[in-house]
C-alpha cells in the first residue's frame, strides 16, 4: 500500500463519518458562534474599531473552536483499538497522520467559511486591503494550527485529563503562527501595512513543523 492510497482511504473514511454524524463541525460551529456573540457583547465595536480588533477576535475564536475538533481526532481510533491495528499493519504511519491533519484542516476551513459571514454581520467588517490575501493567510494559518494540533493530540491521548492537555501544549508553540495570522489579518483589513512578511513567516512555520511532524509521528505512534 502506498502512502497516497492509505491517506486517501483514511481521509475519505473520516470525512464520511463526519458527514453522517457532523459531531466535530457542529460542536465547533456552536462554540465559535458563542465566542463571536460574547466578544460582540463585550466590545460592542464601531466599524472602525472592529477593523483594528477583528484579526485578534477571529483567530482566537477559530483557535478555540479548532481545539474542539482536534481533541476528537484520535478518540474514535482509540476506542476500538484501531491504533493498535494500525501499528501492526504495514501501512506507512505518516499516511495516517496526513489523513488526520488534512481532515482537521478541511473541518476548520469549513468552519471558517461558515463563520466569516457572521463576523462580517456582527462587526460590520469591510476590508480595505485586498481580500484574496486574507484567503492566503487563512489557509496558511489554519494549516499551521492544525498540523501541530493533530500531532499534539496524538501526544495528549497518552496523558491524564487529555482534553485539557492539548491546548496547554499547543498554544505556546503556536504563538508565532497566531501572531502572524492576527497581524496579517489586521494589516489587510485596515490596509495600513503589507502582510508580506507574515505570509512568508507562516509559510516557513508550516514547512518547518510539517517536516518535524512527519519525522516524529512514527516514533510517537509506535511508542508502547
Amino acid at each position: 500500500m502506498t502512502t497516497l492510497t492509505v491517506t486517501r482511504t483514511t481521509l475519505l473514511k473520516d470525512l464520511r463519518m463526519e458527514w453522517r454524524s457532523k459531531d466535530a463541525i457542529n460542536s465547533m460551529l456552536f462554540f465559535a458562534l458563542l465566542v463571536v456573540v460574547i466578544f460582540s457583547f463585550a466590545f460592542n465595536p464601531t466599524a472602525e474599531e472592529s477593523r483594528m480588533i477583528a484579526g485578534g477576535l477571529i483567530w482566537v475564536a477559530f483557535l478555540f473552536a479548532a481545539v474542539v475538533a482536534l481533541n476528537q481526532t484520535w478518540a474514535r481510533e482509540l476506542r476500538n483499538q484501531v491504533l493498535d491495528a494500525y501499528r501492526v499493519s504495514p501501512a506507512p504511519p505518516n499516511a495516517l497522520f496526513l489523513a488526520k491533519a488534512i481532515g482537521n484542516f478541511l473541518f476548520v476551513v469549513v468552519l471558517e467559511c461558515l463563520m466569516t459571514p457572521l463576523f462580517v454581520i456582527f462587526y460590520e467588517l469591510r476590508s480595505i486591503g485586498p481580500v484574496w490575501q486574507l484567503i492566503v493567510v487563512a489557509l496558511l494559518g489554519t494549516w499551521a494550527l492544525v498540523v501541530n494540533g493533530t500531532f499534539f493530540a496524538a501526544l495528549s491521548i497518552r496523558t491524564r485529563s487529555r482534553e485539557i492537555m492539548l491546548p496547554l501544549i499547543l498554544f505556546p508553540i503556536s504563538i508565532p503562527a497566531l501572531l502572524g495570522m492576527v497581524d496579517a489579518t489586521t494589516s489587510i483589513l485596515t490596509g495600513e501595512a503589507t502582510p508580506d512578511f507574515w505570509i512568508k513567516l507562516l509559510a516557513v512555520y508550516d514547512i518547518v513543523f510539517t517536516a518535524i511532524c512527519l519525522m516524529l509521528f512514527e516514533t510517537v505512534l509506535n511508542a508502547e
Binding site: 500531532f151 499534539f152 501526544l155 496523558t159 508553540i173 501572531l179 507574515w198
Partner: protein, 227 residues
C-alpha cells in the same frame, strides 16, 4: 559523588556571594542608568544559563530519540526544569530593571517576548511530563524538538515589532563593549552562574535517576509480592 556535591555546592554559593559583592560595590557605576545597571551582572548570566539549559534539553532529547537511553531522558528533564527556573528569574529581574529605566514593567519587545514565550513553552513541556500516563520519555522528547524549532521562529516574528531592549553590549558595533573593570566583574559572575547552572542540572539529574530507580524498585517489589 555525594562528597563532591558537599564541597562544590557551598563553595559555589560562597563565591557567588563574593561576586555579588563585586557586582554591587566594586564595579564602577554606569553613567546613564546609575546603580540599577548592576542588575546586568545577574541578568545576563541568568539568560545565558537558561539558554544553555534549553540547548542541553534539546541535545538530550534528540539523543533519547536516537538511543533510547533513560539517562539522557533524565538529563532532558533536569535541564528543562533548571532552565525554567533561571528563565523565571531572568524575567523577574528584567521587569525590575525596566521599571526604573524605561518607566514600564513590561513591553512587547522582541527579546522580552521571546523569553516569555520560551518560558511558556518549557513550562508546557514540564506539564506534559507531569501529566503523561506512560510513554513520558518519547512524548517529552518529541515536544522538546518542537520547542527548540519554535525559538528562532518566535524571535523572527516578534522582531517585526519595534525592539526596545538594549542591544547586546559585547560584540556589537563601535560603541559597544564594557569598561574593563565592569567586564572583569561580569566574567566572574558569568563563570559562577554557569557553574551554578551545571551544579543544579547535575543535582536534578541525580534526583531524576534516583526517582526512576525507586519506581523500578517499587515495580520489582510488587512483582515479587504477586508471585
Amino acid at each position: 559523588m555525594k562528597r563532591l556535591a558537599l564541597i562544590t555546592l557551598p563553595l559555589t554559593l560562597v563565591l557567588l556571594a563574593v561576586s555579588s559583592y563585586l557586582a554591587l560595590v566594586v564595579a564602577p557605576t554606569e553613567a546613564t542608568m546609575g546603580d540599577v545597571q548592576r542588575i546586568f551582572y545577574y541578568h545576563v548570566p541568568s539568560a545565558w544559563v537558561g539558554g544553555f539549559c534549553f540547548f542541553i534539553n534539546f541535545v538530550a532529547s534528540i539523543w533519547y530519540l536516537w538511543k533510547r537511553s533513560p539517562r539522557s531522558d533524565a538529563l532532558a528533564a533536569a535541564s528543562a526544569e533548571v532552565g525554567v527556573v533561571f528563565c523565571a528569574v531572568l524575567l523577574i529581574e528584567g521587569t525590575l530593571w525596566a521599571r526604573p529605566v524605561w518607566g514600564i514593567w513590561w513591553t512587547w519587545d522582541a527579546r522580552l517576548t521571546t523569553t516569555l514565550v520560551l518560558w511558556l513553552i518549557y513550562v508546557s513541556y514540564l506539564v506534559l511530563r507531569r501529566f503523561s500516563a506512560g510513554q513520558t520519555q518519547v512524548m517529552a522528547a518529541a515536544l522538546a524538538v518542537f520547542a527548540f524549532a519554535d525559538v528562532p521562529i518566535v524571535y523572527m516574528s516578534i522582531r517585526w515589532f519595534r525592539t526596545q531592549h538594549p542591544s547586546p553590549v559585547m560584540g556589537g558595533g563601535e560603541n559597544s563593549g564594557l569598561a574593563p573593570a565592569m567586564l572583569q566583574v561580569f566574567l566572574v559572575n558569568l563563570a559562577l552562574f554557569t557553574v551554578l547552572g551545571i551544579l543544579f542540572i547535575w543535582l536534578r539529574y541525580k534526583l531524576e535517576t534516583a526517582e526512576q530507580a525507586l519506581e523500578s524498585a517499587h515495580a520489582q517489589a510488587a512483582l515479587k509480592g504477586a508471585a
